[in-house]
Symmetry: C2
Subunit: 320 residues, 2 copies
Amino acid sequence: MAVYTAVDEAELARFLAAYDLGEPLSLVGITEGVENTNYRLETTLGRFILTIYEKRVDPADLPFFLGLMLHLAEHGLPCPLPVRGRDGAMLRTLAGKPAAIVSFLDGRSVRRIEPGHCAAVGGALAAMHLAGRGFALHRANALGPSGWRRLLEASRSRADEVAEGLAGELQVELETLERAWPRGLPEGVIHADLFPDNVFFEGERVSGLIDFYFACDDILAYDLAICLNAWCFETDGAFNVTKARALLTGYRARRPLAPGEVEALPVLARGAALRFLSTRLYDWLNRVPGALVKPKDPLEYLAKLRFHRSVSGPSAYGLD
Amino acid sequence: MAVYTAVDEAELARFLAAYDLGEPLSLVGITEGVENTNYRLETTLGRFILTIYEKRVDPADLPFFLGLMLHLAEHGLPCPLPVRGRDGAMLRTLAGKPAAIVSFLDGRSVRRIEPGHCAAVGGALAAMHLAGRGFALHRANALGPSGWRRLLEASRSRADEVAEGLAGELQVELETLERAWPRGLPEGVIHADLFPDNVFFEGERVSGLIDFYFACDDILAYDLAICLNAWCFETDGAFNVTKARALLTGYRARRPLAPGEVEALPVLARGAALRFLSTRLYDWLNRVPGALVKPKDPLEYLAKLRFHRSVSGPSAYGLD
């Protein structure tokens, strides 16, 4: 769970005075999410999400994130719409931290993922990639290949505490991926964190994409590779080729993949696995005893990395 | 019922090619509304409303209407968000007419109006007035006091066909209101047509305000007077003071009324009644035999006009 910053009634009233959202009726902390403080805010005007940005988010990136959500919502994507205050600004300060209000989305994330959900997520991801074209701002991917070396160096000396030989294995993997990383593939704005808890459904229809706080410019098919890891493995670690086929087919129905993108999928999926393995490893080694947020198991992503290293080609993902 | 412009599959596909909304799944005509053609459009990305603007709407006004919805939605009001195409434009052409896609809103209009609905509508109207501040575009009210004379002249010679002595009564009323119309009251963007079919509820909470195609700049309290007529009379013509008190109290909780605004309510309500009486009278006298849209009864608004003429002051609306 995670509600980091408490807000009292007087602070909330002062904050809301900058908006035309009516009187607050309730403010309830949302325990999902580990990066920011999120409240479900109900006012006489409706339901909203109030987000207070914690230290993991660089305030300089917030105009990109909020501007992107605005751009995507205006282009029809079901994502939160940032709410402007009376002065037109979407971003202001609450409890001494940057904060914003966005619209509330109906639906809920799925616990039991079926292939139909994967197909819908593929379609929604493609829709996001298409709708992101024309967005004027840019943000480099700090957690892309150029960031992995630094990230792994911060954990290398203690990586073997997590699994014997891990430091060496990751060093070899890093060097392999740095050499093999594809160039010239289509790029654009990617979500970069489209895990199941960031997708809301009503039935098998996607009703919301949330949490754009890792969004950046990068290879579009890399975003698909992140989803392959996040959506297509069972909890016992087994790769589910039916779900992978559904995800890729759903994506390709909306945005066809070039042959080079298909060919690159195994390498991109290894890179995506290394990226989440790296941050999870760091968080695991630097966890604070007694902290409310339980760090995620880095070894889950080591297994995924090894799987993608073992495949003979993109046909392993159910592609013809 | 009203679906004026048919759209075939090929036309729809060409139109949707300008957007990133995925593949169309269904297009169903909406029979409510009498001004424009509305379709409920479902695509692989979600649910939307497709509106084709018919001849009653001046295309020159569309940037105002669409820009206003965008502005209000961005300020947190639950109103349709116009969807931008790939080129950034919200307005384009379908079947030779101006057309736009807006987001779909949940909820439904109420058939059986309770005082709680009136309170909620009052609050939502105030929220719209507050959120409208800062909107850069302007539009004069063609159906405001300066338009009534011309509108009534078009019906005067045949008004007595509808009720004996009507022409004379309306002429006196017009001249009275022209003299008595208040000056110097707070103005801003008003909805100008917030009838029960233009407000969606989920329970007693307003979940959507729609149909901004009469919106314009005018006296804010005049918008409240329009709602007094539209929400606070029973179907038998009786004025329901409990509903009026709820409406006004709901409004004042969000945007306090100045003494001059309260004082002017009876005159504003007479003007609001005359406005709808005038257009209904014209439509009634010029109805096309066999047309699908049944004209609304002008006499309903004659009774409302007479009621407001009879009141001794704003206390008749339940105000202390």
